[in-house]
Symmetry: C2
Subunit: 207 residues, 2 copies
Amino acid sequence: MVKLEPPERLGMSLGEAMFTQRAIRRLRPDPVSDEDIRTLMDAASKAPNARNEHRGRFLVVRNREKIRRFAELYVEAWWAKQPEGWSPENAPSGDKHLPPMRLAEAMKDVPVVVLAVSTSPGQAGSVLPAAQNLMLAARALGIGSVLTTLHPVVTDRIHELFKLPPETEVHCCIPLGYPEGRFGVTARRPASETTYYDEWGNPPPWE
Amino acid sequence: MVKLEPPERLGMSLGEAMFTQRAIRRLRPDPVSDEDIRTLMDAASKAPNARNEHRGRFLVVRNREKIRRFAELYVEAWWAKQPEGWSPENAPSGDKHLPPMRLAEAMKDVPVVVLAVSTSPGQAGSVLPAAQNLMLAARALGIGSVLTTLHPVVTDRIHELFKLPPETEVHCCIPLGYPEGRFGVTARRPASETTYYDEWGNPPPWE
Protein backbone atom coordinates (compact mmCIF):
# COMPACT_ATOMS: atom_id res chain seq x y z
CA MET A 1 0.00 0.00 0.00
CA VAL A 2 1.24 3.50 -0.77
CA LYS A 3 0.16 6.99 0.20
CA LEU A 4 0.47 9.51 -2.60
CA GLU A 5 0.07 13.25 -2.29
CA PRO A 6 -2.47 14.72 -4.75
CA PRO A 7 -0.61 15.49 -7.99
CA GLU A 8 -0.49 19.12 -9.06
CA ARG A 9 -1.59 18.15 -12.56
CA LEU A 10 -5.01 17.27 -11.12
CA GLY A 11 -5.45 20.84 -9.91
CA MET A 12 -8.68 21.51 -11.83
CA SER A 13 -11.56 22.09 -9.42
CA LEU A 14 -13.74 19.08 -8.71
CA GLY A 15 -16.80 21.08 -9.82
CA GLU A 16 -15.32 21.99 -13.20
CA ALA A 17 -14.16 18.41 -13.86
CA MET A 18 -17.59 16.98 -13.04
CA PHE A 19 -19.76 19.60 -14.68
CA THR A 20 -17.77 19.56 -17.95
CA GLN A 21 -17.17 15.81 -18.22
CA ARG A 22 -18.70 15.44 -21.64
CA ALA A 23 -18.77 12.01 -23.30
CA ILE A 24 -16.07 12.44 -25.97
CA ARG A 25 -16.63 10.04 -28.88
CA ARG A 26 -14.58 11.76 -31.57
CA LEU A 27 -10.93 11.29 -30.71
CA ARG A 28 -7.81 12.45 -32.50
CA PRO A 29 -5.24 9.74 -33.29
CA ASP A 30 -2.44 11.66 -31.46
CA PRO A 31 -0.80 9.49 -28.79
CA VAL A 32 -1.46 9.85 -25.07
CA SER A 33 1.80 9.90 -23.09
CA ASP A 34 2.79 7.28 -20.53
CA GLU A 35 3.04 10.06 -17.97
CA ASP A 36 -0.60 10.98 -18.57
CA ILE A 37 -1.71 7.36 -18.47
CA ARG A 38 0.11 6.89 -15.22
CA THR A 39 -1.70 9.87 -13.69
CA LEU A 40 -5.04 8.39 -14.80
CA MET A 41 -4.15 5.04 -13.25
CA ASP A 42 -3.03 6.67 -10.00
CA ALA A 43 -6.40 8.44 -9.86
CA ALA A 44 -8.25 5.20 -10.58
CA SER A 45 -6.35 3.36 -7.86
CA LYS A 46 -7.53 5.87 -5.24
CA ALA A 47 -11.22 5.05 -5.61
CA PRO A 48 -13.02 3.32 -2.77
CA ASN A 49 -13.17 -0.45 -3.19
CA ALA A 50 -14.55 -3.26 -1.06
CA ARG A 51 -12.32 -3.89 1.96
CA ASN A 52 -9.44 -2.22 0.10
CA GLU A 53 -8.84 -5.58 -1.59
CA HIS A 54 -8.38 -3.91 -5.00
CA ARG A 55 -10.39 -6.34 -7.10
CA GLY A 56 -10.21 -3.90 -10.01
CA ARG A 57 -7.62 -4.05 -12.78
CA PHE A 58 -7.13 -1.67 -15.69
CA LEU A 59 -5.86 -3.05 -18.94
CA VAL A 60 -4.33 -0.27 -21.06
CA VAL A 61 -4.37 -1.23 -24.72
CA ARG A 62 -2.10 0.68 -27.08
CA ASN A 63 -0.86 -2.06 -29.39
CA ARG A 64 -2.36 -1.19 -32.80
CA GLU A 65 -3.11 -4.76 -33.80
CA LYS A 66 -4.83 -5.45 -30.46
CA ILE A 67 -6.92 -2.29 -30.85
CA ARG A 68 -7.86 -3.30 -34.40
CA ARG A 69 -9.03 -6.71 -33.23
CA PHE A 70 -10.78 -5.21 -30.21
CA ALA A 71 -12.59 -2.76 -32.50
CA GLU A 72 -13.97 -5.63 -34.63
CA LEU A 73 -15.43 -7.23 -31.51
CA TYR A 74 -16.67 -3.87 -30.25
CA VAL A 75 -18.61 -3.27 -33.48
CA GLU A 76 -20.14 -6.75 -33.27
CA ALA A 77 -21.08 -6.15 -29.61
CA TRP A 78 -22.53 -2.76 -30.43
CA TRP A 79 -24.91 -4.19 -32.99
CA ALA A 80 -25.81 -7.08 -30.70
CA LYS A 81 -26.98 -4.52 -28.12
CA GLN A 82 -29.34 -2.78 -30.53
CA PRO A 83 -33.03 -3.73 -30.79
CA GLU A 84 -33.93 -6.67 -33.00
CA GLY A 85 -34.15 -5.80 -36.66
CA TRP A 86 -31.37 -3.22 -36.57
CA SER A 87 -28.28 -4.03 -38.57
CA PRO A 88 -25.51 -2.18 -40.38
CA GLU A 89 -27.69 -2.40 -43.52
CA ASN A 90 -30.78 -1.19 -41.74
CA ALA A 91 -29.36 1.51 -39.54
CA PRO A 92 -31.52 3.36 -37.05
CA SER A 93 -32.13 7.00 -37.75
CA GLY A 94 -32.16 9.67 -35.10
CA ASP A 95 -29.34 11.78 -33.77
CA LYS A 96 -29.17 9.87 -30.46
CA HIS A 97 -27.81 6.74 -32.08
CA LEU A 98 -25.43 8.32 -34.55
CA PRO A 99 -22.55 9.30 -32.23
CA PRO A 100 -22.29 5.84 -30.60
CA MET A 101 -22.52 4.17 -34.03
CA ARG A 102 -19.75 6.42 -35.34
CA LEU A 103 -17.65 5.64 -32.28
CA ALA A 104 -18.01 1.93 -33.01
CA GLU A 105 -16.75 2.54 -36.54
CA ALA A 106 -13.90 4.76 -35.30
CA MET A 107 -12.78 2.49 -32.44
CA LYS A 108 -10.05 0.91 -34.57
CA ASP A 109 -8.27 4.27 -34.79
CA VAL A 110 -8.35 5.47 -31.17
CA PRO A 111 -4.92 5.84 -29.55
CA VAL A 112 -5.77 4.02 -26.30
CA VAL A 113 -8.52 1.76 -24.99
CA VAL A 114 -8.73 0.95 -21.28
CA LEU A 115 -10.66 -2.10 -20.09
CA ALA A 116 -11.90 -1.97 -16.49
CA VAL A 117 -11.85 -5.53 -15.19
CA SER A 118 -12.56 -7.24 -11.88
CA THR A 119 -10.52 -10.21 -10.70
CA SER A 120 -13.72 -12.09 -9.83
CA PRO A 121 -17.30 -11.93 -11.16
CA GLY A 122 -19.40 -9.00 -9.98
CA GLN A 123 -17.49 -6.38 -7.97
CA ALA A 124 -18.95 -3.51 -10.02
CA GLY A 125 -18.83 -1.37 -6.86
CA SER A 126 -15.06 -1.83 -6.72
CA VAL A 127 -14.46 -1.14 -10.42
CA LEU A 128 -16.84 1.51 -11.76
CA PRO A 129 -16.04 4.22 -9.17
CA ALA A 130 -12.39 3.78 -10.22
CA ALA A 131 -13.42 4.08 -13.87
CA GLN A 132 -15.14 7.37 -13.04
CA ASN A 133 -11.98 8.61 -11.27
CA LEU A 134 -10.02 7.72 -14.40
CA MET A 135 -12.42 9.66 -16.64
CA LEU A 136 -12.52 12.71 -14.35
CA ALA A 137 -8.72 12.76 -14.24
CA ALA A 138 -8.70 12.48 -18.04
CA ARG A 139 -10.98 15.53 -18.20
CA ALA A 140 -8.55 17.47 -15.99
CA LEU A 141 -5.70 16.60 -18.38
CA GLY A 142 -7.74 17.54 -21.46
CA ILE A 143 -8.09 13.92 -22.55
CA GLY A 144 -11.48 12.77 -23.83
CA SER A 145 -13.17 9.56 -22.71
CA VAL A 146 -16.50 7.77 -22.79
CA LEU A 147 -17.77 4.77 -20.84
CA THR A 148 -18.82 1.96 -23.18
CA THR A 149 -19.93 -1.60 -22.54
CA LEU A 150 -19.66 -4.84 -24.47
CA HIS A 151 -22.16 -7.68 -24.95
CA PRO A 152 -21.95 -11.33 -23.83
CA VAL A 153 -21.70 -12.42 -27.47
CA VAL A 154 -18.04 -11.31 -27.56
CA THR A 155 -16.96 -12.19 -23.99
CA ASP A 156 -15.01 -15.33 -24.83
CA ARG A 157 -13.13 -13.69 -27.68
CA ILE A 158 -12.30 -10.59 -25.58
CA HIS A 159 -10.91 -12.89 -22.89
CA GLU A 160 -8.83 -14.72 -25.48
CA LEU A 161 -7.56 -11.53 -27.13
CA PHE A 162 -6.28 -10.05 -23.87
CA LYS A 163 -5.51 -13.35 -22.09
CA LEU A 164 -7.97 -12.52 -19.32
CA PRO A 165 -8.33 -15.32 -16.73
CA PRO A 166 -11.76 -17.02 -16.92
CA GLU A 167 -12.92 -15.70 -13.54
CA THR A 168 -12.40 -12.04 -14.52
CA GLU A 169 -15.20 -9.79 -15.72
CA VAL A 170 -14.93 -6.76 -18.03
CA HIS A 171 -17.15 -3.99 -16.65
CA CYS A 172 -16.53 -1.29 -19.22
CA CYS A 173 -14.22 -0.19 -22.01
CA ILE A 174 -13.00 3.39 -22.14
CA PRO A 175 -11.46 4.79 -25.34
CA LEU A 176 -9.12 7.68 -24.58
CA GLY A 177 -7.65 10.39 -26.76
CA TYR A 178 -7.48 14.11 -27.36
CA PRO A 179 -10.91 15.37 -28.41
CA GLU A 180 -11.85 16.53 -31.89
CA GLY A 181 -14.50 18.67 -30.27
CA ARG A 182 -14.42 20.74 -27.13
CA PHE A 183 -15.21 20.16 -23.50
CA GLY A 184 -18.01 22.25 -22.07
CA VAL A 185 -20.80 22.32 -19.52
CA THR A 186 -22.97 19.25 -20.09
CA ALA A 187 -26.76 19.10 -20.45
CA ARG A 188 -28.28 16.69 -17.96
CA ARG A 189 -31.65 16.12 -16.35
CA PRO A 190 -32.08 18.36 -13.31
CA ALA A 191 -31.28 16.56 -10.06
CA SER A 192 -34.78 17.39 -8.80
CA GLU A 193 -36.10 14.87 -11.34
CA THR A 194 -33.70 12.09 -10.43
CA THR A 195 -33.77 12.45 -6.63
CA TYR A 196 -36.46 11.19 -4.28
CA TYR A 197 -36.77 11.73 -0.54
CA ASP A 198 -37.57 8.85 1.83
CA GLU A 199 -39.74 6.96 -0.69
CA TRP A 200 -39.74 6.31 -4.41
CA GLY A 201 -41.48 9.16 -6.23
CA ASN A 202 -41.35 11.64 -3.32
CA PRO A 203 -39.81 14.87 -4.64
CA PRO A 204 -36.94 16.58 -2.79
CA PRO A 205 -37.62 19.74 -0.73
CA TRP A 206 -35.89 21.87 -3.37
CA GLU A 207 -36.58 22.50 -7.06
CA MET B 1 -32.12 18.98 -19.61
CA VAL B 2 -30.27 21.77 -17.86
CA LYS B 3 -26.76 23.17 -18.06
CA LEU B 4 -25.32 24.19 -14.71
CA GLU B 5 -22.12 26.09 -14.13
CA PRO B 6 -19.72 24.34 -11.73
CA PRO B 7 -20.66 25.43 -8.19
CA GLU B 8 -18.03 27.34 -6.25
CA ARG B 9 -18.54 25.07 -3.25
CA LEU B 10 -16.95 22.26 -5.27
CA GLY B 11 -13.74 24.29 -5.60
CA MET B 12 -11.47 21.67 -4.00
CA SER B 13 -8.96 20.35 -6.52
CA LEU B 14 -9.87 17.09 -8.21
CA GLY B 15 -6.59 15.58 -7.02
CA GLU B 16 -7.18 16.43 -3.38
CA ALA B 17 -10.77 15.10 -3.49
CA MET B 18 -9.69 11.80 -5.05
CA PHE B 19 -6.51 11.22 -3.08
CA THR B 20 -8.15 11.94 0.29
CA GLN B 21 -11.48 10.18 -0.30
CA ARG B 22 -11.24 7.94 2.70
CA ALA B 23 -14.09 5.50 3.45
CA ILE B 24 -15.73 7.17 6.44
CA ARG B 25 -17.62 4.66 8.59
CA ARG B 26 -17.87 6.57 11.86
CA LEU B 27 -20.37 9.36 11.34
CA ARG B 28 -21.60 12.01 13.74
CA PRO B 29 -25.38 12.28 14.14
CA ASP B 30 -25.40 16.00 13.20
CA PRO B 31 -27.76 16.68 10.31
CA VAL B 32 -26.63 17.31 6.73
CA SER B 33 -28.34 20.36 5.24
CA ASP B 34 -30.68 20.26 2.26
CA GLU B 35 -28.35 22.69 0.51
CA ASP B 36 -25.48 20.24 0.88
CA ILE B 37 -27.60 17.30 -0.25
CA ARG B 38 -28.68 19.26 -3.28
CA THR B 39 -25.05 19.93 -4.23
CA LEU B 40 -24.29 16.21 -3.93
CA MET B 41 -27.26 15.37 -6.14
CA ASP B 42 -26.28 17.98 -8.72
CA ALA B 43 -22.82 16.41 -8.84
CA ALA B 44 -24.30 12.91 -9.18
CA SER B 45 -26.58 14.00 -12.00
CA LYS B 46 -23.57 15.20 -14.05
CA ALA B 47 -22.00 11.76 -14.36
CA PRO B 48 -21.88 10.06 -17.72
CA ASN B 49 -24.78 7.68 -18.27
CA ALA B 50 -25.86 5.49 -21.18
CA ARG B 51 -27.36 7.62 -23.97
CA ASN B 52 -28.04 10.36 -21.42
CA GLU B 53 -31.23 8.48 -20.53
CA HIS B 54 -30.65 8.95 -16.80
CA ARG B 55 -31.56 5.47 -15.62
CA GLY B 56 -30.12 6.29 -12.21
CA ARG B 57 -32.17 7.54 -9.26
CA PHE B 58 -30.97 8.58 -5.83
CA LEU B 59 -33.23 7.97 -2.87
CA VAL B 60 -32.25 10.23 0.02
CA VAL B 61 -33.43 8.74 3.31
CA ARG B 62 -33.61 11.04 6.31
CA ASN B 63 -36.80 9.85 8.02
CA ARG B 64 -35.63 8.36 11.33
CA GLU B 65 -38.09 5.47 11.31
CA LYS B 66 -37.13 4.54 7.73
CA ILE B 67 -33.44 4.64 8.63
CA ARG B 68 -34.09 2.46 11.69
CA ARG B 69 -35.90 -0.14 9.57
CA PHE B 70 -33.27 0.11 6.83
CA ALA B 71 -30.53 -0.46 9.42
CA GLU B 72 -32.18 -3.70 10.57
CA LEU B 73 -32.15 -4.98 7.01
CA TYR B 74 -28.61 -3.72 6.48
CA VAL B 75 -27.36 -5.69 9.50
CA GLU B 76 -29.10 -8.83 8.24
CA ALA B 77 -27.61 -8.32 4.76
CA TRP B 78 -24.17 -7.69 6.21
CA TRP B 79 -24.14 -11.01 8.03
CA ALA B 80 -25.56 -12.80 4.99
CA LYS B 81 -22.53 -11.60 3.00
CA GLN B 82 -20.02 -13.04 5.47
CA PRO B 83 -18.54 -16.54 5.05
CA GLU B 84 -20.57 -19.46 6.33
CA GLY B 85 -20.22 -20.04 10.05
CA TRP B 86 -19.88 -16.35 10.92
CA SER B 87 -22.65 -14.91 13.03
CA PRO B 88 -23.11 -12.12 15.56
CA GLU B 89 -22.39 -14.71 18.27
CA ASN B 90 -19.32 -16.03 16.48
CA ALA B 91 -17.80 -12.83 15.19
CA PRO B 92 -14.71 -12.86 12.99
CA SER B 93 -11.58 -11.43 14.49
CA GLY B 94 -9.15 -9.24 12.62
CA ASP B 95 -9.09 -5.50 12.19
CA LYS B 96 -10.28 -5.64 8.57
CA HIS B 97 -13.75 -6.77 9.54
CA LEU B 98 -14.27 -4.59 12.57
CA PRO B 99 -14.99 -1.21 10.92
CA PRO B 100 -17.64 -2.61 8.53
CA MET B 101 -19.22 -4.56 11.40
CA ARG B 102 -19.33 -1.44 13.55
CA LEU B 103 -20.85 0.50 10.65
CA ALA B 104 -23.60 -2.10 10.37
CA GLU B 105 -24.34 -1.64 14.09
CA ALA B 106 -24.21 2.16 13.79
CA MET B 107 -26.31 2.43 10.62
CA LYS B 108 -29.48 3.12 12.61
CA ASP B 109 -27.99 6.40 13.87
CA VAL B 110 -26.55 7.91 10.67
CA PRO B 111 -28.16 11.20 9.63
CA VAL B 112 -28.67 10.28 5.95
CA VAL B 113 -28.58 7.17 3.79
CA VAL B 114 -28.63 7.46 0.01
CA LEU B 115 -29.69 4.49 -2.12
CA ALA B 116 -28.38 4.49 -5.69
CA VAL B 117 -31.02 2.80 -7.82
CA SER B 118 -31.51 2.08 -11.52
CA THR B 119 -34.94 2.26 -13.14
CA SER B 120 -34.34 -1.11 -14.81
CA PRO B 121 -32.18 -4.13 -13.96
CA GLY B 122 -28.44 -3.79 -14.62
CA GLN B 123 -27.32 -0.30 -15.68
CA ALA B 124 -24.44 -0.29 -13.17
CA GLY B 125 -22.47 1.82 -15.66
CA SER B 126 -25.12 4.53 -15.44
CA VAL B 127 -25.41 4.46 -11.64
CA LEU B 128 -22.03 3.80 -10.00
CA PRO B 129 -20.10 6.62 -11.72
CA ALA B 130 -22.82 8.96 -10.38
CA ALA B 131 -22.40 7.43 -6.92
CA GLN B 132 -18.69 8.19 -7.12
CA ASN B 133 -19.43 11.80 -8.13
CA LEU B 134 -21.71 12.05 -5.10
CA MET B 135 -19.00 10.74 -2.76
CA LEU B 136 -16.28 12.97 -4.23
CA ALA B 137 -18.57 16.00 -3.84
CA ALA B 138 -19.26 14.91 -0.25
CA ARG B 139 -15.51 14.86 0.36
CA ALA B 140 -15.22 18.40 -0.98
CA LEU B 141 -17.95 19.54 1.46
CA GLY B 142 -16.33 17.73 4.40
CA ILE B 143 -19.08 15.10 4.50
CA GLY B 144 -18.05 11.49 5.03
CA SER B 145 -19.36 8.59 2.96
CA VAL B 146 -18.72 4.95 2.19
CA LEU B 147 -20.04 2.72 -0.58
CA THR B 148 -21.89 -0.29 0.85
CA THR B 149 -23.90 -3.04 -0.78
CA LEU B 150 -26.85 -5.18 0.32
CA HIS B 151 -27.57 -8.88 -0.23
CA PRO B 152 -30.40 -10.55 -2.18
CA VAL B 153 -31.85 -11.88 1.09
CA VAL B 154 -33.26 -8.40 1.88
CA THR B 155 -34.15 -7.17 -1.63
CA ASP B 156 -37.92 -7.68 -1.35
CA ARG B 157 -38.12 -5.96 2.01
CA ILE B 158 -35.96 -3.04 0.86
CA HIS B 159 -38.28 -2.61 -2.12
CA GLU B 160 -41.30 -2.67 0.16
CA LEU B 161 -39.80 -0.25 2.68
CA PHE B 162 -39.01 2.40 0.08
CA LYS B 163 -41.86 1.54 -2.35
CA LEU B 164 -39.36 0.78 -5.11
CA PRO B 165 -41.00 -0.47 -8.32
CA PRO B 166 -40.24 -4.16 -8.99
CA GLU B 167 -38.08 -3.47 -12.06
CA THR B 168 -35.69 -1.21 -10.14
CA GLU B 169 -32.35 -2.39 -8.77
CA VAL B 170 -30.43 -1.01 -5.77
CA HIS B 171 -26.74 -0.82 -6.68
CA CYS B 172 -25.33 0.59 -3.47
CA CYS B 173 -26.24 2.34 -0.23
CA ILE B 174 -24.21 5.32 0.92
CA PRO B 175 -24.45 6.53 4.52
CA LEU B 176 -23.55 10.22 4.78
CA GLY B 177 -22.60 12.39 7.73
CA TYR B 178 -19.88 14.50 9.25
CA PRO B 179 -16.93 12.29 10.16
CA GLU B 180 -15.88 11.36 13.68
CA GLY B 181 -12.38 10.93 12.31
CA ARG B 182 -10.43 12.95 9.81
CA PHE B 183 -9.95 12.93 6.08
CA GLY B 184 -6.43 12.29 4.88
CA VAL B 185 -4.36 10.78 2.11
CA THR B 186 -5.47 7.17 1.65
CA ALA B 187 -3.31 4.05 1.50
CA ARG B 188 -3.95 2.09 -1.69
CA ARG B 189 -2.11 -0.47 -3.78
CA PRO B 190 0.25 1.25 -6.20
CA ALA B 191 -1.23 1.63 -9.67
CA SER B 192 1.72 -0.29 -11.11
CA GLU B 193 0.25 -3.41 -9.45
CA THR B 194 -3.29 -2.92 -10.73
CA THR B 195 -2.49 -1.82 -14.29
CA TYR B 196 -1.54 -4.06 -17.20
CA TYR B 197 -0.46 -3.07 -20.69
CA ASP B 198 -1.92 -4.78 -23.78
CA GLU B 199 -2.39 -8.17 -22.09
CA TRP B 200 -3.32 -9.48 -18.67
CA GLY B 201 -0.27 -9.62 -16.43
CA ASN B 202 1.94 -7.38 -18.60
CA PRO B 203 3.36 -4.65 -16.35
CA PRO B 204 3.13 -0.97 -17.35
CA PRO B 205 6.26 0.82 -18.63
CA TRP B 206 6.55 2.74 -15.34
CA GLU B 207 6.99 1.66 -11.73
